[in-house]
Symmetry: C2
Subunit: 309 residues, 2 copies
């Protein structure tokens, strides 16, 4: 079904204990588009790049079923660039460079042929840009998912809270859930955040899995124990892409289907971290995805018959 | 079936963000005995106390199906005492006092009527004491489970490695698995530790759940998301007690049954942390346990039918 995402399309330079890259293709919308492409096509992308961004990278996105009509090209300007170095634990990193470039004054434009959107994935960006995209849609989508981060809680909390009132699903990590709610317990944090607008909250705990809350229920999806996390960049966006791609392909936004979507999202994140950047996401087979989802099933499956049932 | 445990029977004084206790009853063998009592009776206890230990506390253990014949009483000596203060995150703590007292020269004696033991739970103690108990059994038990901690890796690594060669299941936390193996990745840590003797490894990750490894498979059990962790003292021992108690009651040591045992162990740990000390563990009903296990089932249950299956 019609799926729209807004987010960054960017250059990244990444250093991990396993090696380092020159400028490679990255950005939240790139990972979201690639991960969702295995479930639902097309994905309509809204973003902004400079004229230094290679045409073949856009072509690669289109080959994966992305529509890039909504990616503005700013001539004479440069694409957003981020550079970071991961520590040995792979859970913490230092940002070495952030060059906003075209992002500094990004005003998203949703093309007319994108506007009848049923599933909307708002990638991590300034809340004002996320709000602008929502406001350009003539009809409310069936499902709006928003990803954000602590940076926006620090510098744009009011704008973020305004966007939260417009969405269905919020995805953040555990520390961000604590910051947003002021509660240490994730159960209490979820209860508080679910009064702020979203009906569903996904708390991403990295190597410790993810929790899905609504007001009645909680679901936990593990992360797959991996021998090595090679490069965590894009894992959260790949999760979001698999999550909304699966939901869009099934058009089912029930809690039970969101559980499945979280498993598919977790599977895409587990692929993402196996290689640098988007390398692993661009060449997956359906069989590899099915095998990976089976790994998740095997990991948590147990059979207990309670006497009183 | 016949179940034997060796471990501390002790006094604890605990301070958490929610309050503090005077000297209360604690110790690894106490928690193991109480948790296992809901699955299998009797549990034969080997331990040591001073004559300051209250008779009614021993009576309480016996009322839960423990045999206390193997608990030595050292007249004129004092019971092991530990005091600690938990930080706000409840994952870290400061030890305020450790008075070894009777533990300083503890030489365990396994009574003759305990010796035909099929299931052996070696609670966290100096590896020499754990080895002594193994050596006093004329026949190897069907299953030997050992709990230990970083302290013994620091000061008695050779003795610990000698005991590891004699056991079936090792339970340690994630940091201890990394320390023992020298590997950061828990998958690689498990591979390394499974060459040291144990056929099964349980890695306890506290609020992030537990992993069970053997050479072929891995299983993940979540921790239940709780509104509050009131007092984490004894959670690992309650887990171990539920784990081996369930295995002893079913006499089934297959990987599939160990998965179930881990869920029952996790359920007992989730009760333990709800109140100070052993308070929650001493008065559980079968219905409460069944309801709690159902919570674990609901937490991780999802239904995905892969097209190619």
């Amino acid at each position: 079904m019609s799926l729209l995402t807004v987010g960054t399309v960017a250059f990244d330079a990444i250093e991990t204990p396993f090696g380092k890259t020159d400028k490679i293709i990255g950005g939240a919308a790139t990972y979201i588009a690639l991960a969702s492409s295995y479930f639902n096509k097309p994905i309509n992308m809204v973003s902004v790049i400079g004229d230094d961004f290679p045409e073949e990278a856009l072509e690669n996105l289109r080959n994966h079923g992305a529509n890039t009509d909504g990616i503005q090209v700013k001539h004479g300007e440069k694409t957003f660039f981020w550079s970071g170095k991961y520590h040995n634990d792979m859970n913490t990193r230092d940002t070495l460079a952030t060059e906003l470039n075209v992002l500094a004054d990004f005003e998203p434009v949703v093309p007319t042929h994108y506007q009848e959107c049923e599933f909307l994935m708002l990638g991590n960006l300034t809340p004002a840009v996320q709000m602008s995209v929502i406001n350009q849609l003539p009809n409310r989508p069936k499902l709006v998912v928003l990803d954000t981060m602590n940076f926006w809680m620090d510098i744009a909390l009011d704008e973020l809270k305004a966007v939260l009132k417009k969405i269905d699903v919020l995805t953040i990590n555990d520390e961000e859930a604590r910051q947003l709610s002021g509660e240490y317990s994730l159960v209490k944090a979820a209860q508080a955040i679910l009064t702020m607008g979203p009906k569903y909250l996904v708390i991403k705990k990295g190597e410790h899995g993810a929790l899905l809350f609504n007001n009645e229920s909680v679901f936990f999806a593990p992360a797959l124990p991996l021998e090595e996390v090679f490069d965590p960049t894009g894992a959260g966006d790949s999760f979001a892409g698999g999550f909304i791609g699966y939901l869009a392909s099934t058009r089912d936004t029930s809690f039970d289907n969101m559980k499945r979507a979280i498993i598919f999202g977790s599977a895409m994140a587990s692929f993402c971290v196996e290689k640098f950047g988007t390398e692993r996401l661009i060449n997956l087979s359906q069989e590899e995805i099915d095998d990976r989802v089976q790994d998740f099933i095997d990991l948590v499956q147990f059979d207990i018959s309670l006497v009183n049932d």
